[in-house]
Symmetry: C2
Subunit: 303 residues, 2 copies
């Protein structure tokens, strides 16, 4: 069975705490490993979380505030030090190309790994990326910030009892999936629709339509929730979400599960933020460093 899980490397916003490293996350999706927003210390958090440089196939940076990318130099240098043989694709706001270049060439090192740059421009970017489509949408933050969405194409789930009823067996099972029919028997007759899994990563932003579009129908929404209700005015002033607003995005978008993260250091206990979010969207959890969150199983196939 393929592994799809979200590994939490760090959960702090602007300043780290004793319990929370700066941001950083790895989404394992079958053979791919998408590293999101590597904050300072990501390289060492990877070690604690059992994530190797070899696991990374793609790096997605939402924006160029330090807490979302100061771990990039260490990660990029590590790809070369550890002789990662496959190319790694980096996505980031094109408007921050100069920041990316500085982080990429921050200090002297011998670059052996192959980095493919894929800067993002425009409101909405689609990138077919092998087993999924990667989408990015521009959010609302003082510096240009993009959220990400990973979408597996819809497929069909084969039902063994229907195969048997239509007498399809052995190599014909693979053939009907590839070719759509075997003689008079169609793939539709032996299967039901299987919605593709969807994942969204919404970082630094005010409430905006793009955040909802990213989160539309996802199985797991990872969303910043920097502030509590009491600091909502501050949140809006500095371009962030409260936990309750993150939950409202999840509810409006029809997400299945919400993972809160990117907490301000002012909250030693994020329990109240979690409570505030759950009032709006019950299936919410608060991330801790080194958590491993399985992507929820696919929605049941409609009969």
């Amino acid at each position: 069975m393929s592994t799809r899980e979200f590994v939490v490397l760090g959960t702090a916003s602007q300043a780290p705490t004793r319990q929370r490293n700066h941001n950083g996350y790895l989404l394992r999706w079958d053979g791919e490993g998408l590293l999101f927003d590597p904050g300072e210390g990501t390289q060492r958090q990877m070690l604690h979380a059992g994530v190797a440089a070899h696991d990374i196939t793609r790096i997605c940076v939402t924006h160029f505030h330090g807490d979302h990318c100061l771990g990039l130099p260490g990660v990029l240098q590590r790809l070369s030090l550890d002789r990662v043989p496959h190319p790694v694709t980096a996505h980031f706001p094109a408007s921050g190309q100069h920041w990316f270049d500085r982080l990429h060439h921050a200090t002297a090192f011998h670059e052996a790994a192959v980095l493919v740059e894929h800067p993002l421009a425009g409101e909405h970017v689609h990138t077919p990326a092998g087993p999924f489509t990667l989408e990015a949408r521009r959010l609302s933050h003082p510096v240009e910030s993009y959220g990400y969405r990973v979408v597996e194409p819809d497929g069909r789930r084969i039902l063994p009892e229907r195969l048997a009823a239509h007498g399809v067996a052995g190599p014909d099972v693979g053939r009907i999936q590839r070719e759509g029919r075997i003689g008079a028997v169609t793939l539709e007759q032996v299967s039901v629709p299987r919605p593709g899994q969807k994942f969204a990563f919404v970082m630094d932003t005010r409430r905006c339509a793009a955040a909802v579009e990213l989160a539309r129908d996802v199985d797991l929404l990872v969303c910043e929730s920097t502030f509590a209700d009491a600091d909502a005015d501050l949140a809006h002033e500095v371009g962030h979400l409260t936990a309750r607003e993150a939950a409202a995005i999840a509810a409006e978008a029809g997400a299945r599960q919400l993972l809160l993260t990117h907490f301000s250091q002012r909250y030693p206990d994020v329990g109240p933020l979690l409570d505030q979010a759950r009032e709006v969207f019950p299936d919410t959890v608060a991330a801790h460093d080194l958590d491993r969150i399985p992507i929820p199983r696919r929605r049941p196939a409609p009969e």
Copy 2:
């Protein structure tokens, strides 16, 4: 009493381990705080070690390999975030000015703190720096690397029994120290020489004369010891020291205490490196993250 101690923030060389963060050290010297070689994650290690951004008055970078400076962006941004009111002076090899600039302006942030750049050029640089002189000497490494030396000026220690014998008391005690005499009584008659304390920080280098000069007569020598005896050939090839060589520098220089650090990740146990060093220089200890090493008390005053 003034505090002079060496706070160990990280002790790993090229790659961090579960137990060892990348390099990073704070030397507390009376009112100053000298941050040496802030590797990635230094900002968070400071938190664990009880070091505040406000404690930093000076930053000394030996060279621009990532493990010695990728924590610089986080530290510099933190000085502004925490509104450190005093200027902070940064020393680094002038040949790496472009690296320093990239690290300083690695990502978007509002710079409120005042950073005074003091790049180093030439074999040997002297900087009078308030309560001490800061010296830097060029070492031998594939990229230009400087070691540092902190020297307190020699002074005199007042002996109460001599004050009493000469009838000096009250405000005259301060006056004789400032002015050198009170009537017929000289400072020399009521005091003995007090050697200034000395500290040296010798990072990435092959054995060289400059390392010995930096360590000359110091009370505490902090020295890289990346490799064990068995890997001496590799050490020389990549421009590093073995633990035994670090000890030989301490012995030749007449240092009083040696602190080994900057260990390769290949040694989960650095006990053998410590043993090898102690064969040459018995007063050696191996650094662990978050150690606090007092600067040894001044040598006894010669009578």
